[in-house]
C-alpha cells in the first residue's frame, strides 16, 4: 500500500516529541531516513506485541495499515 506523505507528516507530529528529526538519544532511536519497510515491520511488531516496549505498543496499536504506510513513507523521506 502506498502511503500519503502529507497524512504521514500529520501523524508524525506525535512521534517527533521523542524521536527527534535529527539525532538519537540513549532510550530513543533515530527513525528519520530509515527504510520504509523497516519502519513498517517495526510498527507492526509493536502492534502485535512481538516487540516489547509498552509506549510503542500503545502508539502502534491505534495505527491502521494506512497510517503505518503513511508514516513509513514520511520518515523515509526525512534526511
Amino acid at each position: 500500500m502506498k502511503g500519503d506523505p502529507e497524512y504521514g507528516e500529520y501523524l508524525a507530529s506525535d512521534c517527533k516529541t521523542c524521536h527527534k528529526v535529527k539525532g538519537s538519544s540513549p532510550g530513543v532511536p533515530l527513525i528519520s531516513g530509515v527504510a520504509r519497510k523497516d519502519l513498517i515491520i517495526a510498527l507492526h511488531a509493536y502492534k502485535q506485541k512481538i516487540r516489547k516496549n509498552p509506549v510503542m505498543q500503545m502508539m502502534a496499536n491505534r495505527l491502521s495499515n494506512e497510517d503505518i504506510a503513511a508514516l513509513a513513507i514520511y520518515f523515509e523521506g526525512l534526511k
Partner: protein
C-alpha cells in the same frame, strides 16, 4: 525564514519598518497571539510559524527570558541534572521561525476587539488567540501559607529560582532534620510530580543526611503510580519517608512559616525545610479573559477551542482536558492539534482528526525510572482515553534503567519541539 542581516540592516526597508506604527501590519497576514511560552505555547507558536511557511504572523508573549522546565526540575533537585541543562532560551524561535517573541505579561484581553494588553503598555491584535498560561495557586488553600511565605516554604511548582531555593534548603538541613511536603488536591499540574520530588529529596538526603526524615501530608487517599513509588521508597529509602494520606488526617493541615512548623491533624511538627504545593487553578489570564468555568477553561477536544469563545484556544494545564493529565507532554500534544486547527481556520490548510497522547516518566532513584501513559481521542463530550499502560512493580533493573533513558530521549525531543 532566517533573517539575512547584512542585506536587511541599513537598507530602506529596515528604516521604513522602524518608523512604522507598532500595531500596523503592513502585510495583512492573519495574526496569532500565543500567551505563555511553555510546553503548550512554545510548541504551538513554533508549529504554526513553521507549518504555515510564513503565511501567519505569530507573536509569543512570555515573561521569562530563559525558560526552566518544570518537568525534570525534580531531577535537578536530586542532583541528576544541572539547572542550566533544564533552561532554554527563546532565541531560536525568534531567529529561525520569525516568531515575534515578546517578554512581557498579558494583563488584559478584550474579546470584542480581539486585543491583548501587555503589562508594558502595548496592545496586540489577534485573529486567533492561544492561551497556555499554566497554573496559578488558589489563595488560602493551605492555611498559614501565602505568597509572602514562599521564600520560607517554597512551592517550587513553577520552575527556576523557587527550585534552586528548595534544593538549597534541603542541602542546608541539619543532620537528622525534617523535610515536610504539603501535597496538593486533585486536579493539579503533574500528578506524579510531588512523589518524584519526594524520591529525589530522599536520594539527596540519603547521601549526605541519612538520618533525616521526610513527611508528606496529602489530602488525597492515593496518588499517581502509588504502588511503584512505595515499592521504590521501600527499596531505596527504607524508613525515611512517612506518607500521611487523607485517611490518616493528611488533608487537615496548617503551616506556620515563621515558626517553621507543620500541623497535621492537630499534631505539630517542627520542620527544617517545607515544600508547600497549594491547590491550583488555570493561569489567571484565562479568568481575566472570561473563559473559565470554575477553576479551569473548558475546551472542545477537536480543536482545543474554548467552549466560550471560538477565537480562543486553550492548551495545557489551564484547560479542562478531559481524561488527559496536566503534564508537559499533554500540553505539547494538544498544541499540535490546536496549531493544525488554527492554520486550517486562517489559511484553509488540511485539518485531520485530533489525536493525543501522554507519557509521564518519574525517577525514583538512580537508573530506576517508572512511567505511565495513554493515547486519547476527541469526543464531543471531552478528550477521552483510548488505551494506556503503566510500569509494573517487580520489573527488572534493566527495564527500569531503559525507562529512565527513554525519559532522557523524550526530554531532548520535547525541548527541541518547543524551542527549535
Amino acid at each position: 525564514m532566517k533573517l539575512d542581516r547584512r542585506n536587511f540592516i541599513g537598507t530602506g526597508a529596515a528604516i521604513a519598518a522602524a518608523m512604522a506604527a507598532p500595531t500596523v501590519m503592513a502585510s495583512g497576514k492573519p495574526r496569532v497571539v500565543v500567551v505563555g511560552g511553555g510546553a503548550g505555547g512554545a510548541t504551538a507558536a513554533r508549529y504554526i510559524a513553521k507549518d504555515s511557511k510564513g503565511a501567519i504572523d505569530v507573536t509569543l508573549v512570555e515573561p521569562t527570558r530563559n525558560y526552566y522546565t518544570c518537568f525534570f526540575s525534580n531531577l535537578y533537585i536530586g542532583g541528576f541534572r544541572s539547572l542550566d541543562s533544564i533552561g532554554h532560551s527563546y532565541g531560536n524561535l525568534a531567529t529561525e521561525y520569525g516568531i515575534n517573541v515578546v517578554h512581557d505579561w498579558a494583563v488584559g484581553i478584550d474579546r470584542g476587539s480581539k486585543t491583548v494588553s501587555l503589562a508594558g503598555g502595548a496592545t496586540l491584535n489577534y485573529d486567533r488567540l492561544i492561551l497556555s498560561p499554566g497554573i496559578d495557586f488558589i489563595d488560602g488553600s493551605v492555611e498559614g501559607w501565602s505568597i509572602n511565605a514562599q521564600n520560607k516554604m517554597p512551592h517550587a511548582y513553577k520552575a527556576g529560582s523557587q527550585t534552586e531555593l528548595l534544593k538549597a534548603q534541603i542541602e542546608a538541613m541539619p543532620q537528622g532534620g525534617v523535610f515536610a511536603m504539603v501535597a496538593p488536591p486533585n486536579p493539579y499540574r503533574c500528578p506524579p510530580g510531588p512523589y518524584e520530588r519526594v524520591s529525589m529529596t530522599a536520594h539527596l538526603l540519603k547521601a549526605s543526611n541519612p538520618t533525616a526524615k521526610i513527611i508528606v501530608a496529602d489530602p488525597k487517599p492515593k496518588f499517581s503510580k502509588m504502588g511503584l513509588f512505595q515499592e521504590g521508597w521501600g527499596n531505596h529509602y527504607s524508613g525515611m519517608i512517612d506518607w500521611i494520606g487523607s485517611e490518616f488526617g493528611g488533608g487537615n493541615v496548617s503551616v506556620d512559616p515563621g515558626a517553621m512548623t507543620v500541623t497535621i491533624d492537630g499534631e505539630v511538627t517542627k520542620v527544617d525545610a517545607c515544600n508547600v504545593i497549594p491547590a491550583m487553578k488555570a493561569g489567571r489570564i484565562c479568568e481575566i479573559a472570561g473563559i473559565t468555568e470554575g477553576n479551569w477553561a473548558p475546551v472542545s477536544g477537536h480543536t482545543m477551542q474554548s467552549r466560550i469563545d471560538e477565537n480562543i484556544h486553550v492548551l495545557g494545564d489551564a484547560s479542562a482536558q478531559g481524561d488527559m493529565p496536566k503534564s508537559g507532554y499533554s500540553a505539547n500534544s494538544q498544541a499540535k492539534v490546536a496549531a493544525m486547527a488554527v492554520r486550517g481556520a486562517l489559511t484553509g490548510s488540511k485539518v485531520f482528526p485530533a489525536k493525543f497522547s501522554n507519557t509521564c516518566w518519574s525517577l525514583v532513584d538512580t537508573n530506576d525510572g517508572v512511567k505511565v501513559g495513554a493515547t486519547y481521542e476527541a469526543t464531543d463530550e471531552k478528550i477521552a482515553k483510548i488505551d494506556g499502560f503503566v510500569s509494573k512493580t517487580g520489573e527488572s533493573a534493566d527495564l527500569r534503567k531503559a525507562t529512565y533513558e527513554e525519559s532522557i530521549g523524550w526530554y531532548s525531543g520535547i525541548t527541541a519541539d518547543m524551542f527549535g
